[in-house]
Symmetry: C2
Subunit: 436 residues, 2 copies
């Protein structure tokens, strides 16, 4: 169907790949498989120029001419015949040196490295703007989902009111299995590690850092300026109890690790935390290792983008899309990202949210009144209460859903509640997201 | 946040709008509201040059200088100062003349007109390729959802294996209300018309024509060639009984009007029909007038794009995105769409699907055997049967879910079943979509 007509106008480009791991091999595989199709679609024929990796002996499951392989990344970055550099090394330090050098050489760079973008974005954009070589990073957020293009191009006429992202496949996989199988966090994590769905150590994923890296990239593109990591409050899913998942289900919710970026009256809330998502909301139906981003624009209204958030092929799809964009001569968005002041960030204490509270109370007449009094005194108003006829050692579990209140009021109330004699252990508090 | 720095490099463009209806007014509103933001993002400042409509007296709810309004479309199309033409007239005949004239004048055209694209796509792409002026049509499919960009750019490295679209907001609104409120089709349709959610007459929407127009555009972009309307078999939701919706719910499905475009062994199935969608699939959670497109690429895997499928603002968002793309000098995809042969279409008779069958059988001992025999004889194998202890006038309703079988075998079997003495009235048959 796609017989190639290599006319005189067909431009051929040479790609230099740094890092021949899972994604690198996927990129090579995709280009070998669909290069002709891409040439048809764009008028540009992509070819693999060089591939650098410290390990050039391991079989990557894809056929490449051995002459293309080198252990010397600089010989790729500095090769005048290479048109586009693809950085797939990961990590921050070495990757940054390589990317800066490529940009300085005037070569556009494609990267999937969210940690690098989150931690050194401004420096990269400045180097890119200075040399005029673009930096492209669709693969850094949401794997194969073309969500950054949607933000940059499709929604170019929109002010972004809010974004809610399920951005970490490992966490979503763990939450899905906890929910379906009624298992504890530690059990699922250990199994996920055994199956290769979670890293060892798993901290970057389960503590929300990876989600925050990606959220930084989303926020930067939404507001046209590099957003610093410390704009985000970050909480992961480590140690989440299956009790919360069960109560959530009973109340018509599912628990998802959400990145929330929301402009309220000109100040932007930015946080990563496990949240109650109404089960009828599309994000609640994003299962397993899938990712999704829900974006509300002031003109378009609500939109959602869904797909595999990681993995050899999905990530390769996004990298390849960026390679073709870089090769088309488009300069990327570095200039724009340096033109604006970062958005003003709403202090975490002043964010208004609904919460789920679970605590263990002594089984005696006045306990509910004591807790309700502390909540009320701190301007936290109760929307509903679940107390069942359970009693374990004189303790009853009680769950409160609150109306919206300020974070600082929740913090004050919870500190006080924890000190009450009638409360046993540390109460659990989680955000409820109603997408309003 | 977005103070405009109109530097010497800022390019200003003048937009000529044909058709000042709902969407036209939304486009003007969006550009007046967010023009500076767009200029920041793209370096191109969009301005309204002229607006043509036969009615220039009605208040459109947006402030425009009266001097910009004209009843003479040609004075807009032929004005050398106008950089981009936006066609929002709708219909095929007049719109086509205007679009062809604009392209011939070398002006890029942005259109939301799916009927025009479906019925005269090749002619438009040829005119566009000849003059070098691009034609951009993101708004023609899925309203504000940037799904065509995803296909063209984000998924450029993918062969498209399948696409499943909920593409008509009116039908999805009707189906959602039938499901939620247990109402009959006619009742909901009449109410939707009263509320302005359905046109009068509603034929284009409820008979699946509008969905097919949009599916033609999707298929054309997926396979790189204008696909003709008659490649699609089309069935709408007219007269759908709430019995089907109830049985669907009982069986764990929801009924959606789906456009299905699926490449099976090199031949592409193209059909529009109401289908059983498993309630756990994301498409089953697309409610009300929302649209969504589920796209499977050979590299990226499964992705989904969701948003408002119509309306003043969502459609305007897509039109504005296209205006900025057209203004950036990108030539569109007309060249590419003319390079390939249209995909080979699988004959409707040879499509393999699962089906839901409901029929009314006489309450006598051998009926089930007779029906099962006819199905078996025609290579249709039964996956499950529901027969309840109902009996209305000696008739019992029976529901069969089948395994996959060829459409021609279903047709033959149903003809034979209809002729059986034990079968009362016309059996109902609907496709079950398992997304495999």
């Amino acid at each position: 169907m796609f017989a190639l007509q290599m006319g005189i106008f067909m431009k051929k480009i040479k790609i230099g790949i740094l890092g021949f791991g899972t994604v690198g091999a996927g990129v090579v595989e995709g280009i070998l498989k669909n290069g002709e199709l891409m040439a048809q679609r764009t008028g540009i024929f992509p070819t693999i120029g060089k591939i650098a990796d410290l390990d050039i002996k391991t079989d990557r499951g894809v056929k490449v001419d051995k002459a293309l392989l080198t252990t010397d990344a600089l010989s790729v970055i500095d090769d005048p015949e290479i048109d586009v550099i693809v950085e797939l090394i990961g990590g921050v330090k070495v990757a940054k040196d390589f990317v800066l050098r490529a940009l300085k050489n005037g070569k556009p760079v494609v990267t999937a490295n969210k940690a690098l973008l989150a931690e050194a974005g401004r420096e990269l954009f400045e180097a890119s703007a200075k040399s005029g070589a673009g930096i492209f990073f669709e693969a850094s957020v949401g794997g194969g989902i073309p969500v950054l293009r949607a933000l940059k191009d499709g929604l170019v006429g929109n002010q972004i009111k809010s974004m809610y992202g399920i951005l970490n496949g490992t966490c979503n996989y763990i939450l899905t299995r906890m929910e379906r199988e009624g298992l504890d966090f530690d059990v699922v994590l250990a199994d996920a590690q055994k199956l290769g769905y979670a890293e060892t150590p798993p901290d970057l994923d389960i503590d929300g850092i990876d989600t925050a890296h990606k959220a930084v990239v989303l926020a930067s593109l939404a507001y046209g300026a590099p957003v610093p990591m410390d704009a985000f409050t970050i909480e992961g899913i480590r140690g989440l109890s299956h009790r919360e998942i069960e109560y959530a289900a009973e109340l018509g919710y599912r628990i998802k690790l959400l990145a929330v970026i929301r402009n309220v009256d000109g100040a932007v809330e930015m946080r990563v935390e496990p949240s109650f998502v109404p089960e009828k909301h599309l994000l609640a139906s994003v299962h397993d290792s899938y990712n999704a981003v829900f974006i509300e624009g002031d003109v378009v209204g609500n939109t959602l983008y869904y797909g595999r958030g990681a993995g050899r092929h999905p990530t390769a799809s996004a990298v390849i899309g960026d390679i073709m964009e870089a090769a088309s001569g488009k300069g990327g968005c570095s200039d724009w990202l340096l033109k604006n002041k970062p958005p003003s960030v709403r202090d975490a204490k002043d964010v208004s949210i609904r919460c789920y509270l679970r605590m263990s109370l002594k089984d005696q007449p006045d306990v509910m009144a004591q807790v309700a009094h502390v909540l009320g005194k701190n301007q936290v108003s109760i929307a509903s209460i679940i107390q069942k006829e359970e009693n374990a050692g004189g303790q009853v579990p009680v769950v409160f859903l609150t109306h919206k209140a300020l974070e600082k009021n929740f913090v004050a109330a919870m500190e006080e509640i924890e000190r009450l004699d009638v409360v046993d252990g540390k109460p659990v508090r989680m955000a409820i997201e109603d997408f309003e």
